[in-house]
């Protein structure tokens, strides 16, 4: 078997690379100017990273506490956080 870097962790090499490349391509299909492309790429990259971290937190709680109640509560808190973040972004135009 082989890996890109010996003994590395996919969460620090492949996953960030995946997020960066997806964000760049996605934003370049939405905008034409480089400034807008890079701004949108950073925004999408952060959103993707936050979303994946949120899923990671929910799975960690499910695994560590083995409680459906706590897991549902965490999922609801994170869903409210994302809705609030979206509303804030829309209101500030960022």
């Amino acid at each position: 078997m082989h890996t890109l870097l010996p003994g590395h962790n996919i969460y620090f090499v492949e996953l960030p690379l995946l997020i960066i490349l997806i964000s760049l391509v996605y934003s370049a299909t939405r905008f034409e100017e480089w400034g807008a492309i890079l701004y949108e790429a950073v925004r999408w990259g952060l959103r993707l990273a936050l979303f994946l971290i949120a899923i990671g937190i929910v799975l960690y709680i499910l695994h560590h506490f083995n409680s459906i109640f706590l897991t549902t509560l965490a999922a609801l808190v994170l869903a409210v956080f994302f809705i609030a973040l979206n509303m804030w972004q829309q209101s500030t135009g960022t």
Binding site: M1, L4, E14, I22, L24, Y26, T29
Partner: protein, 202 residues
């Protein structure tokens, strides 16, 4: 300077009615359609990003392991995770046509296909697959050839999560290229302001 640069870019944008030649070129090689239109920077960006995703996926999804069976050491190899196995005879719950059943059994290839020429060896291997040829296809060898079930099992059980992440890379590369093809066909989703004004006054 920036407005001059952006107005130059606007002039290069395809008409909203579509540029099929550029779309086909972008299907064949990601970003080639944009380069053909003169949007060279964006074309190179698409080419580098999509081929990086795709070939890293191919690289991570391949592997060789050696397993000891008694006194014998057997080597199992998986050359790539881009392949379409002919499994319609083994599983076809909806009586689909052969190709559709094979895609139903390996839906990843429906995404990988859109990366263009880079996925064509898998189509060649699918059309010319002969289980008895252990050395693979005379032209392409084992590249993008359906691996044997024993090889898949051996490599997967010896590997780690990377193998699962690997096909995600290749599928995402293909699916992103659909957006790149659309960008070549009709331009970006949001046009620069002066290009928008230009199109409305035409």
């Amino acid at each position: 300077m920036s407005s001059a640069a952006s107005s130059t870019n606007s002039a290069l944008l395809p008409d909203r009615s579509g540029d099929p030649t550029a779309a086909v070129l972008s299907y064949l090689i990601p970003g080639l359609g944009q380069i053909y239109q003169g949007r060279i920077g964006k074309g190179i960006l698409f080419f580098v990003c999509i081929y990086t995703l795709f070939f890293i996926g191919v690289y991570l999804g391949s592997g060789t392991v050696q397993l000891q069976h008694g006194d014998e050491v057997e080597t199992y190899s998986v050359s790539s995770n881009v392949y379409l196995p002919d499994t319609a005879d083994q599983n076809n719950p909806f009586n689909l046509p052969r190709l559709a059943a094979n895609l139903y059994n390996r839906p990843q290839f429906a995404g990988q296909f859109w990366v263009g020429i880079a996925a064509w060896p898998a189509i060649w291997q699918y059309l010319n697959y002969d289980r008895r040829q252990e050395s693979g296809d005379p032209l392409l060898g084992n590249f993008e050839r359906t691996p044997s079930e024993a090889a898949l099992n051996a490599v997967h059980t010896s590997g780690n999560k990377l193998l699962e992440l690997a096909w995600v890379f290749t599928v995402i590369a293909g699916v992103l290229n659909v957006m790149v093809i659309y960008d070549a066909l009709a331009g970006p989703a949001f046009l620069p302001v002066e290009a928008e004004e230009d199109k409305t006054t035409r």
